[in-house]
């Protein structure tokens, strides 16, 4: 359904100091009927890639193909079949929700009777009856997001693109949006969403791609990516709060244990130990080893590899660390200018 080939995009041109390489040879392929997640920290290039896909931005190089149509030479044909729900919800505060949807319908050239009926369906589907005739300026974040989703779905697109659809939403609105996205996928719409929530991508996506520094660095189904990592994760605390010395001693002890691949001291979690073990049989061995050394066990938790582990493996850091590292570096003003057209 979507083929992005070798996309590159630089912002701020001119001097090398101020320019930002938003996309660096990004390649992505999304099969038809798939609910596809684009996972990455803020600033990884997800939004830029989606904006290029939606014909809002021209790449410096590379190609965009949507349903066999070239997005760069036939943008209007591509626009017809995609719905785009942008990250920053742009609504007209003066219009009511229904008026906004009617405007949207006219921009997509829906016949007015059909448009009216379609708006009615979406109001029911997204639970907007109570407030749809109020002015958009009075809406909460969740209402705006639902309205924007309705606007994206109005013309029944074959492809729905959502940029961080649930950021900052209440639980109820988020659940509502998740449910609609699943229904869409079940009925044949291809859905591409970006997110920096592991949980969201894990819960929703049939396939996902991890985007880092403008490139796709891992791609596959969540299960396959996790299985490819192999092994189980074990979190061990000998005491509620250990000190560095004890943690190091336990680390040295367990590293020798057969079946243990890796032992890392997690200083931010009270010197707990994070282990990667071959299989669940190793757990018993660990317990015996600790007992023999006369060490207590405060907590011992075992889990299958998570998406966060996949991310860690692919990038060398956790998603949260990646978020934190760019948190102070981004300039919202500059980014807003970049998204201005």
């Amino acid at each position: 359904m979507i083929e992005l080939q070798h996309l590159s995009k630089q912002f701020g041109g001119g001097s090398r100091l101020t320019s930002v390489q938003a996309l660096d040879d990004l390649c992505l392929s999304v099969p038809e009927g798939c609910l596809f997640g684009l996972l990455g920290p803020n600033g990884a290039g997800k939004t830029t890639a989606l904006r290029i896909l939606c014909t809002l931005l021209a790449p410096d190089s590379g190609s965009v193909t949507v349903a066999g149509l070239d997005g760069l030479s036939q943008p209007r044909a591509v626009r017809r079949l995609l719905g785009y729900v942008a990250q920053e919800v742009a609504i007209d505060k003066i219009l009511s929700g229904r008026e906004l949807l009617t405007l949207q319908g006219d921009l997509y050239h829906l016949p007015s009777v059909e448009c009216k009926g379609r708006i009615g369906e979406l109001i029911a589907l997204l639970g907007m009856e109570e407030w749809i005739d109020r002015r958009c300026g009075t809406y909460s974040g969740g209402m705006r997001r639902r309205l924007d989703l309705a606007a994206g779905l109005l013309h029944r697109p074959r492809l729905l693109v959502l940029d961080e659809p649930t950021v900052g939403l209440d639980i109820e609105s988020r659940a509502a949006i998740w449910q609609v996205l699943r229904q869409l996928r079940d009925q044949g719409t291809t859905v591409l969403l970006s997110s920096h929530y592991l949980e969201e991508v894990d819960a929703l996506a049939d396939r996902l791609a991890i985007v880092e520094a403008g490139q796709v660095i891992a791609e596959g189904t969540p299960a396959a990516l996790k299985n490819a990592l192999g092994g189980d994760r074990v979190t061990l605390r000998v005491r509620e709060f250990s000190d560095a010395g004890e943690a190091a001693r336990v680390q040295a002890l367990l590293q020798e244990c057969p079946g243990v691949r890796q032992v890392v001291v997690n200083r931010s979690q009270g010197y707990s130990l994070n282990l990667v073990v071959q299989d669940s049989d190793v757990i018993e061995r660990l317990r015996r080893q600790l007992a023999a050394a006369e060490l207590p066990v405060f907590a011992l938790a075992q889990s299958r590899p998570s998406l966060d582990d996949v991310y860690l493996q692919a990038t060398g850091r956790t998603l949260m660390d990646a978020e934190l590292s760019v948190a102070g570096l981004r300039d919202p003003k500059v980014e807003r200018k970049q998204s201005m057209r």
Binding site: C54, T55, L56, A58, L72, P75, R76, A77, R79, R80, L81, L82, Y84, A86, E88, A90, I91, D92, I94, L95, E99, T102, L103, Q104, D106, L107, Y108, H109, R118, E121, A124, L125, L126, G127, R135, A151, L153, H155, R156, P157, R158, L159, A176, Q179, V180, Q183, L184, D186, Q187, G188, T189, R336, K337, S339, M340, R341
Partner: protein, 287 residues
């Protein structure tokens, strides 16, 4: 939340594509409707827009009521002279500001909603603004003309009304295109407001809105004779002067005499030229 409904499935078969005209009409009218809904819910723009030219008319008319005899070529009253200038200047100001809502749409991201939609032509955005500003200008002009009539400055008659309509349409088209072009070319609303601020009053003073060319220093006379506002003002002023024909000479420019038809022709050429000139800006890299 209802359970799965078939309506969530994508539309596979694209229905018969309507004609380009029908699509452009639909999107233009929808965008125009939005501007009018905004106006209806924020009527202060309209109130101020009607009051301001009336204040111009009354105060400026009074200011020069005692102007020396030979100031005006025809020898009429200054108020009668001023009416056409205020009508045109009011429409011009409104059109010059047409880019502001578009600029705010850019800054708030609403424009993305328009650009990601399969608009048959992005010129619809321009056409919607032209329709809106022209209608607004007509309301303003009627208010000005009625007030002028009440002040004893005369009434241009039915032909004059038609002439006002045509002239304003051409001028508004040209200036709106220019303003929208600026709204797409400039980085933000601060810059756009600066340009509007710098362009607005000087263009008024360097036109025949407030004084005839014969009253100006030679260099200013030349400027006024090249100013598009002058080409809009003079035919309307001629209509106020009594019997009017398109072939009448309405402007004695330093480079020669111009008929009303020539003035309107120049405005039309300007409108078409500016409209064509800004189209690449609307389309940017992606058409």
């Amino acid at each position: 939340m209802t359970s799965a409904t078939p309506s969530l499935g994508p539309l596979q078969a694209v229905p018969n594509e309507p004609s380009a005209f029908a699509e452009i009409r639909q999107e233009t009218l929808a965008l125009t409707r939005r501007l009018f809904v905004q106006l209806a819910r924020r009527p202060s723009t309209l109130v101020a827009g009607v009051l301001q030219p009336l204040i111009w008319l009354v105060l400026f008319g009074a200011l020069f009521a005692n102007a020396p005899e030979g100031l005006l070529p025809g020898g009429g009253s200054y108020g009668r002279f001023l009416g056409a200038g205020v009508i045109v200047f009011t429409a011009f100001s409104a059109a010059l500001n047409a880019g502001l809502p578009v600029m705010f749409d850019r800054e708030f991201g609403f424009l993305n909603r328009l650009l990601v939609a399969p608009l048959r032509s992005r010129s619809s955005i321009v056409l919607a603004s032209v329709l809106y500003i022209t209608s607004l200008s007509l309301v303003q002009s009627l208010a000005i003309m009625v007030t002028a009539a009440l002040l004893g400055y005369g009434w241009p008659g039915a032909a004059g009304l038609l002439l006002v309509l045509v002239t304003l349409l051409l001028l508004v088209f040209a200036v709106t295109a220019l303003s929208l072009g600026l709204a797409f070319a400039l980085p933000g609303h601060i810059e756009l407001i600066a340009v509007i601020f710098v362009a607005n009053l000087p263009l008024l003073f360097a036109s025949t809105a407030l004084a005839p060319i014969s009253f100006m220093p030679i260099w200013l006379g030349w400027l006024a004779a090249l100013n598009p506002l002058t080409f809009a003002i003079e035919p309307i002023r001629a209509a106020y002067g009594g019997s009017f024909h398109l072939s009448n000479v309405v402007l004695n420019a330093p480079y020669g005499d111009l008929s009303a038809a020539t003035c309107l022709g120049i405005l039309a050429a300007l409108a078409v030229g500016l409209f064509l000139a800004i189209r690449p800006l609307l389309d940017r890299k992606l058409t």
